[in-house]
Structure formats: structure tokens, C-alpha cells
Symmetry: C2
Subunit: 559 residues, 2 copies
Amino acid sequence: MPDLGKPIQKLKILVIGGVAGGASAATRARRVNADAEITIIEKGPVVSFANCGLPYHVGGEIPNRQSLIVAKRELFWNRFRIAIQTQTEVTSIDRNDKTVTVTNLETNESSILSYDRLIIATGAEPNVPAYCKPMPGNAFHLWTLNDMDRVLEKVNNGKVAHAVVVGGGFVGLEVVEQLHRRGIHVTLVERNPQVLTRLDPIFARMIENHLASKSIALQLGNPIVSLKMEGNDANAAVLADGSEIPVDLLVVGAGVTPRIALAQQCGLSIGEKGGVQVNDFMQTSDPNIYAVGDIVEYENAVSKERGLNPLAGPANRSGRIAGAHAACGSSERMGPVLGTSIVRVFDLTAACTGLNEKQLQSRRTEFRTAIVQAASHASYFPGAQSMQLKLLYSPHDGKIFGAQAVGGEGVDKRIDVIATAIFFSATVYQLSQLDLAYAPPFGSAKDPIHMAAFTACNDLANLPKLKLPTADLSGLQVVDVRTATEREKLPLPNAIAIEIDEFPSKMDQLNPALETVIVCHSGKRAHIAASWLRASGFSNVSNLTGGMSIRSLTGKGNG
Amino acid sequence: MPDLGKPIQKLKILVIGGVAGGASAATRARRVNADAEITIIEKGPVVSFANCGLPYHVGGEIPNRQSLIVAKRELFWNRFRIAIQTQTEVTSIDRNDKTVTVTNLETNESSILSYDRLIIATGAEPNVPAYCKPMPGNAFHLWTLNDMDRVLEKVNNGKVAHAVVVGGGFVGLEVVEQLHRRGIHVTLVERNPQVLTRLDPIFARMIENHLASKSIALQLGNPIVSLKMEGNDANAAVLADGSEIPVDLLVVGAGVTPRIALAQQCGLSIGEKGGVQVNDFMQTSDPNIYAVGDIVEYENAVSKERGLNPLAGPANRSGRIAGAHAACGSSERMGPVLGTSIVRVFDLTAACTGLNEKQLQSRRTEFRTAIVQAASHASYFPGAQSMQLKLLYSPHDGKIFGAQAVGGEGVDKRIDVIATAIFFSATVYQLSQLDLAYAPPFGSAKDPIHMAAFTACNDLANLPKLKLPTADLSGLQVVDVRTATEREKLPLPNAIAIEIDEFPSKMDQLNPALETVIVCHSGKRAHIAASWLRASGFSNVSNLTGGMSIRSLTGKGNG
């Protein structure tokens, strides 16, 4: 239990940056130290605003701009006696003198401020692709209130018919939806062959298909190479394949880079991933200097490696810890992160936690995959929505490495529960034992989480084992246990069709000597059929995980 | 990792009861053992139905009766080769001969069936209060499809103006809402002084107030002592205080009792709480006989004690485990339960997990309490709903004992996450470190779970400590930091009013020598004010946890 009871007397605490964990650090510092002198120095015009809300104001879903200002200057002073200097940039840090040089961006005057403890919360800045240097007059990021105001001004003047959004990450997808709400034709250009690279390709495909169903034009793996200009504005984007798309508005969401210039300038240790190195109390290599938010490297709970994780949750929590530690020399510990993240894309939600396939592969970590399709709550209760839930886990001990979900309501709950389980190094066996809240409006007696865990446990016990959705099925005995209607809708050529309810009486037509894969729509009925075969002496039987609902997204047939 | 690969050959598995985990056991048994002979013997007319859905069909929220039949007899045979004998009662078990005697309830013929493995899933039966013996013609349980049909018939004939529901547990509250949907005036009679006894009284109060706002008449702590009859029907209920309420329909949800007669008759070990004793594979004291569902005593993850837990989740999971173990001699383990449960009551949701105050007190376990009010998602994003979230935890190491939540959307998610954390013996420190999914439509960068954990961590570090909502405030220096409008709405007499934004400049009017309690609406602003005082040398400062939003539910003023 941390002892936070001893505020350090007459301490000067400077916080650089209000948004990315800085305000959180400053207010916590105050709460544990009444007589410290606390100042936030912020480059922008507003000390604290809801940057995650910006896209939603563009589309009008958050109608009131004012609601995005989390806390005003007066509140910081009146409630917390925290002084705010906005429009002020810290240009250098002198660790020996314990001073920083600041420049007032309005008057251009410089001055020197001293500190006992310094908290750097400079956040990240949006990347600018080469073809956007310099940024055309109609090209914007959506990173600050000012960015938002400029995008809105452009949209409100009514002359935006075609918008191009660069980057299919969280912010990019939110912007796509919100511009679409404004009646604008939107093209999403993503240089990778998929949106949401935190998800594995098949799960991203569900989001891509959903975007297409909303008439969003997708350019995946076909990046912009140049812009055609008309005066200061871009009027067309030229893509790698030579095609051109019209541009009235360009919104760039091409990732972010941590702002570590100050940390570098004063010689703080920088990690391999380009973030500031910190300990569990957010102290940098200089124990009087803390770093929080998007600029630091966090420990990953699964890989134990340190890396960037520019998300609001860890930024707030790290600020809170740095604030306490700076103000009284002790605090709770940060703990590892999981990269847990979520985005709503029109009617779907995509969320993930832990490591994905690519991350596991790059670490040469062996893993297994289970995918289930399940209803958000009891299917007999109105309003149940479908989700696909994927678990990645160790073939050796069942330890969960990561999870992904795409679907309707309840995706957030399942990912949060699994993130919690992973935090405690859970195995799929433990996941299957969780005692979750059930009533028909909220879940099922066997929750989607249980179903995923059961499926993974069965896989590990060879009851039967699961086959990857992308598996090559050629040369195998493929058995399709769906109904005729289902087979017509999503055909699986070259499969032997035996409907599940006729399976026990007809399975003797199958050859026990052949490697056999059973397929249904989601994997549930296939599990039953595969169990029959396995228990009937078939030596090599598997269940195509996720069934045709997932296989159909892979672009593979039966070969 | 359990090895489930070796089905026992030529095994006869009998399952007694299809509903409470029985069907789950039988289908799992089949999945691991293709040649076992599997039979379900069910007393009722239907082998498997959605008993949790019954109330919702009465109110029309689940419009289709057929959707409540989970799986039909034909499916069991065609898909699983599981034989079903409905309307058949097992009257005795002979463990030496490994046989059971069954009676066909239609023909009244008896016969003897042999087994190698027996799975008892007889479930629980609804309690009948003394004044309902015999049950009047217009009094019903809501436990079987037949019960539901009879209630519906009564309601549909249009002559039910006044319904009385006995029992304010989960089913009782669901029935209250659904009868109200049908335009019936409903009185809820609960012999305890609160509804939902799994919740602590103040959290139950929120549900009681909500029921009252929907014009549900509440009789708490004022049980029915007798019924006035007119022919076979009750036409009034006489309460303990002598008052009478009219009765056109009486629905009894007065708890359930496990059906252990068969287990007792054949001499299986029964636990102290009146349930069948089982091991982690659901084996009874006779290793060839398994018991699952509502009749067994489960281990509690917090108290480590065994007790009844008649809920659908554990019933299904225990069935699954017993089925595998019976069929192949090994299985996953059941693991402990937490009593995690949830109910929707009109526009509110109430959920809980782990132990409540009463359970902790009866075990003489010291505990601390933190209550926070928080929004379901970022408050600047439309549609955020408020919830109250309560944590009970150890004063010694911060280990979480239990949690309760009442509010709108997202209550289920928070309780499931905390249930998962408790499953892994989490402390409030670990809870504060969880990396949860955040985007404005789904949560906040500091989730309600984090806020509750932070509050608890602060309490344990005396930053400042928390005071119980029911605390006696007389003789203390009580400081109210709310606005004038808030104070008018929910007055706190005898408190010194200093609004939070004037606190730093006006706090010198307070006496540092006195024990001081700070109060605001939810506890958040009070935390800031209390931090000022504590850090300014006030020796004994506390924050009234949950603030006036909770204090106002306790019926206590400032004394």
C-alpha cells in the first residue's frame, strides 16, 4: 500500500502541457500537496479539452462546442490554485539549474522559470505525409480545437462535396462517419491493405465491408502519392495506382509522433520505440523530471516490452501517478498497459486488447486462434445484436495473449472483461470460469466470453482442434453441416454437405482415414459434428473456427 | 490443461432434469463421448426452456412464446442422439444397483433404469408462503412455462386490475415491471425492509424510489399474514400492519429451495446450506453421481465458503463440466462463483458481485466502503447515463470483497469487469491500473471503475479517508462545498457552506482542531476540499462517500 501522506514542503511543480495527462498530473499534485506552487504551461489556447470528442462535433453528434472544454482556467485557479500559462511554449530545459525557458507565443517574450519537479506532458503531434508538405489550405488534421474549427468552417460553407480522409485508424474512421453525417461523399485512403491495423485483417474486413455498405469509398493499400493543387488548395489526390480522386477537403489522420524534442534536448533517456523512458512512477532518467501521456514508453502487460501507446486512458492515469509522486515522493504504480482500444464505426463497434497476430508473429510467439459468433444478450430477448469475438492464446498453457471483437452492443463489455483477465495473466480455462452477470437483457447464461473460452479450451484439448479461417482446404475432406439455404447464400464448393440434424445417421459416408474439416456458419454446429467424428475414431478432424461467417471474409473458397 | 481425449466406452449416462444445467450436461457428454447412451429424464412437459425469459413474455416484451423453447426433443435426438423422457419423474435412486426408479406421470407406470453415471439436475422449487397453502386459484409462481401460461390467461381475460407480487428479488421485480406494462396496478410486498437483499440497503433504496416513481405500491417489511378468499380465489391480502390490499392476481416470488429429496434419499452428502456437496468436477460423495445447477453448494471466490447460488450461469457451466467428467472421467474445473447477478427494473439496472455488507459483517470481516457517481460514458457525448458504483474492500491490503452498481447503461459492464478482477483476487490498487477500452460513446478516459478504485486507494492512504453515508455527523465540523442551488434542493442542515470554487480562499474560517467531514453531491468535489484541509494540517478530515446523492437515501439529516 503506497504511503502518500507526506507532501514535500514549498515545492515548485511545473507541468508542460495541459492536455495529454498534464491537467491530470497538476490536479493530483495539488490534492496531495496543499502548499506546492503548481503551474501548467500550455502551448495552445486552452489548457484542457476533450480531444477524443473533436470528430463528433464536426458531424454534429456533439452539438455544443463548449462541452468539449473540460475545465477552464478559472476552475484550475479557484478550485486548485493551479496557475495556467497558455500560448506559452517551453523551448528548453536546464536540468542543472532546474529551470525552463519559456516563450509567450503572443508577445514573443522569453523568460526563465525554475522548478523542483518538472512533469512533461507534451503529447504527440499528427504526422504530415510528404505530399502534404506544406499543408494545402483545404487540408487539416483533427487534433486541436483550432483544427476542428477550421474543418467545421470549411464544411459549413457548403462547398465540400468530396472529402478525402487519410488514415483508417480510430480518428480517421470517426472523421469518415462524421463527414458522412454531414452529407459529404467520403473516400478513405489507407496506405496499409486494411483499416484499423490493431485488428487482424479479417476483423478489419468486417469494418471495411460496413463502411462500403454506407457508401464510403475505400482505397486500401493504395496511398496518395501527390496532390493536384489549385492555388493554395488541393483539388485532387493522385493515388499509387495512378487514379485520381476529387478533393474539396482533406483530413489527415496518418498517425502521431510523440513530441520528445524537449526531453531529447535536455538529455533524458529515450527508448527504442522513440518514447521517453520512465519507471513505474513516471520518473524519467532524471528523477526530478516526470513524463506522462503519449510521449512515454509503457510496459505491455503481455509482451513485457516497452512501447508507445498514445491513448487517453493511460495518459490520464500516468498523469495522476506522476502528479502524486512529484508532489510527495511516492504514489501508486502505473502498471502495464494492454493497448485496449475501441471505436464506433456507424452501426458497428470494433475493439481489441493485448497483442494481435502480427505482433505475436513478429515476436515468434506461438499462438492459437478461436473465433465465435455470439449474441449480445439472450437471443430470445428482443434487440440482441451479433458480434464476432476472437481470442489469441498460447498452445502451451492457454494463456491469453489478446482479443478482438466486432459487432453491435456489448463489444465494449467483452473486451473490457478480457482486458481485465489478461491483466491478471489469465488462461482460457480461467476465462471459462468467470462468474458474469446474466439476465436476458444483458447477456446469456453462457456469455460470448464463455463461448470463446470454451471454444479455445476445446481446441487445446483437441475436442476437436480449430483450423484457421484462412486455411488451405484443398485435398481435405471438407464437410459442410449447414442447411441448404445457408449453403446457397455462402457457397463452399467441393464440400460434402450433411446437415447437422442428419449428421449422426449420415456420417458413415465419410472416410475416417482422411484429414477432415467441418464447416458451419459460425463454428458451433461444426463443433458438434466434429465431436461425433473425433469420438467415432476419425484420427484427424478439425473445426474451421468462425465458420463461413469468417471464411467468407478471407476471399478464399474451398481451395 | 485437462486431458479430455478418452471417452469411456459403452457408458450409460442418465440425466435427471433438463432445465437447470441438465441439457448442458447431456450435450457436453455427447460431445466428448460418441457411443455413450445418454438419456434426460424430465418431470415437466418440455426438456429445455428459457426460464429467465418467462416474466418478459407475460408483459409482451418477448412477444413469441415459442422463442422460449430453447431446444426441442427432436433436436436432442437428431443432433445429439440424446433420448428424452418428459413427464417422467425419478422417484428413487439405488446407488448399489446403479438404478433409478421412474414413474411416467401420464400413465402412472413405473420402471427401473440403470446407469453408469448419473447427473442430478433437479433444480430448485419456488417457496410457498404459509398463507398460500393451498395456493388460491388466482395465485401463481412464475417458474415454469405452465405457470406463465396460467398467469397470462388470467391477465389476458382482462379482469386483473390489482396484482400483488410477493418478493422483491430478481424474478419479483421483473414480474412487477411486466405486469405494469400490461396496465395493471401492482403492489410489491417484501417481508424484508428492502428489495433485492443481495444489495446493501442504500443501493436497494434507489430501486425502491424508482419503482415508486413508476406508481408501483411498495410494502416493505410488512409481509402478508393472510389472504381473504372468495371461493377458490384470494380477493385481498392482509398485511402485518393490519392493512388490506385488493388482489385480483397474486404472483409469488418468495425465493426457491433446492430439490434435494432424491440426493437425500440415496444418502449423498448434503452441505450446511442445504445443497448437495460436490467437488470441482461436480461429483457428489458418490463419484458416479454428479449434481449440477441450483441444488449444489458452490465455493464462493471471496469467502471461500460453500453455499447455494441458484443462478443460470453457474447452472449451465456446472452442467457442462459434469457432462464431460461423467463421459470421459476428466474435465475442466468448475472454479468458484461470486454470486454475480443483475436485474433490469424499468429504466434502471441493478447489479452486484462478491459479498455485500451484511455478508461481510456476519463473517466479522473488516471492510471499507467507497461509492462514486459516474457517467456511463464521456459526459460531453450525448446519452451518458448516471450510475452509482460501490466497492467494498479490505482496510488491510485493499483486496476487493464486492461491488454493487445501480444506474443506466453500462452497469453490466462495470460489474462484469469487477467480478473478473475479484475472480483474480484483485486489490483496489490493481483495479485502478486496468487498461479499459475508451472512446467517447463507451466510457471515459477515467472509467467509473477507475474512479471507484482511485477513491478507494485514496481512502486507504488517508487522502482523505472516507466516511460512511450513514455516519452520525452530530458534533462534527460539517462542510458543504455544493452550490446554493444544490443545497436548496437537498439541504444538509447545520453544515458550514463554502462552495468548492471559493474553498482555497475561505477555508481559513474552519477550525483545524475539530473532526471535519466534507460533503458535496457525489464526493468528487468534497475530495478536493478535503485534500486542501488534510494537506493544510487538519488532523482529522474525511469525505462523506457518495455525497448527498447517497446520504439523502439514508433518511439521515445532519445528526
